[in-house]
């Protein structure tokens, strides 16, 4: 369940994808930071694919804010896809959706870059 390391896929020179699985909690901090460092070098956008997400809590949301700050510093876009209705609502409540582009599928996210 613990996200020891998260796979990063580089789709082309401009976009890379982090495949999130299991939970996004305080325990995911290192794995998520590591994956973002690897995914974000030299691209315009990083997509978080939440298709495999089981559970995200407020600590996890805090981690996403941290990633968002890093992305903005690097003048990169942070995008998300594959969110369930429930977590999509939480993104809206927290207004994370205003800073992170939300897409239904990975293809739509890639096409937006």
């Amino acid at each position: 369940m613990t996200t020891n390391s998260l796979p990063v896929r580089r789709l082309n020179g401009r976009v890379s994808v982090i495949d999130i699985s299991g939970e996004v909690t305080a325990k995911s901090e290192d794995a998520l930071a590591e994956a973002f460092a690897s995914a974000s070098s030299g691209v315009q956008a990083v997509i978080l694919n939440f298709g495999g997400l089981e559970y995200m809590n407020s600590s996890g949301i805090g981690l996403l804010v941290t990633l968002l700050i890093r992305a903005q510093r690097g003048k990169q876009k942070l995008l998300a896809c594959g969110l369930s209705d429930h977590y999509r609502q939480i993104f809206q409540l927290t207004r994370l959706d205003e800073a992170i582009g939300i897409f239904g599928s990975e293809g739509e996210a890639v096409a937006s870059v």
């Binding site: 559970y55 809590n57 407020s58 805090g62 804010v65 903005q72 409540l93």
Partner: protein, 531 residues
Amino acid sequence: MTARLTTFWKNLWGGERAVAPTVDEPATSAPVTAILPAVDIAPNDPLLAYLHNVNGPVEIARLQMESPALAEMKATGVVICVPLVSQGELIGLINLGSRRSEQEYSSDDRKLLADLATQAAPAVRVAQLVRQQQIEAAERERVAQELRVAALIQQTLLPQSLPELDGWGIDAYYKPARAVGGDFYDFRSLPDGKLAIVIGDVTDKGVPAALVMATTRTLLRAASERLGSPGAVLERVNDLLHPDIPARMFVTCLYAVLDIQTGHLLYANAGHDLPYRAGPGGVEELRARGMPLGLLPGMGYEEKEITLSPGDTLLLYSDGLVEAHDPQRQMYGFPKLRDELADFPGGDLVDYLLTTLHNFVGPHWEQEDDVTLVTIRYDGPAHNGALTQLADFTLPSAPGNEREAMAQIAEAVASLGLSPDRLEKLKTAVAEATMNGMEHGNRYREDLPVRLQAESDGQQLWVRITDHGGGTDIPDPATPDIDLKLAGLQSPRGWGLFLIKSMVDEMNVIDDGQHHTLELVINLAEKKDTD
């Protein structure tokens, strides 16, 4: 017909005056001194065929044939017999003994007798027919009376009253196509407080079906007393019924056990029409495999289960509803039943379905088969203000245990019928509150557990999460703002309490000096709006 001739004759003239008096002895003069006994003629007696073909009086002494009736007539002193024939049918005889004067019958006598027979025959025939109709009418009335009694007895085999249970609305309708029927239904309170529900349908209708119905009902009652599970009950009844049931007859039957506290329903089906669950979540057929009762011995019955949610109605029914035809011979059918259930606005489902049936078959419908409906509506845990404890447990303060809290609370409130959306929100709120309790209240000390309680009065759900951090002032955290956080003016964290408040209808804080409790409130009445 012929065997009955003498009987009619007797009845027509009454009692012992079984035979017409001799013609030269008018009844008004001296009393009759000799009455010839009635003679029964067997249907295969050759005398019968002979008399059928003669015209007018016959002298008995001249007849020679192997006939028991003829021998009897000779022995009793019959001299002349005159067949009464109406429309080619021999309907009786006038037997006469010898004349008083001991003289032979003259040709005038014979002519008189022939005329008498010609005129008497139609009158006797009419009298016979009237008599026959009276007997048949009496017989019909006797059968009808027996059926009325049978119908009364059968009524006593059906529940005399419906179970009245807090939070449940139970209704039933039963109308046999004839005086008695093969449908039945039954309710039975089980020792563990659950409710057994049965509906069945015997092949055929009328009296044969009613007799098998009575047996099956008794076997089901006896089996349900000893065996708890629906599959075991049907298996037992099938094995008992099989050796005794008439060939080509069988019984379809659905047996269910309802937990009235939680809405959990366990059921098995012996080839009966599939029940439906209809409610805010849509219409669902409840399938479970099994052969009808009485067909083959040693059958097993699959058991299935569902949990009814508040607002759900369970429908059990017999095929008299779905196999009803409209004037154009179209059948009501399952697709229509399903559609009607999908459109069911709530309320009285029996009334609703009967209205759809009457609209379908029209005013001149002759009911084709027994119609039985049983509906079980779940209004939700008793709305009588009584609190129902749904959960009360503790968890050690260890990272990750909030997920266990989520899972246990979700299971505990399953019977309340929260929509998936509201359930997910409750789970998130419970997880966040448990994390807060473990982290801020108990400092992740494993010897300090977090306690979770859930209770409901049917209108509201309260979930309380209690830690040991009472008595300390917890400053109200700043409302998280994404812009401030991105600008570095606020910590990226600090979303917990904000999320909890957003996920539930109301959040209260209770502090007794030792314990700190977060109370989450969900209004169940709003459930339907969000579904």
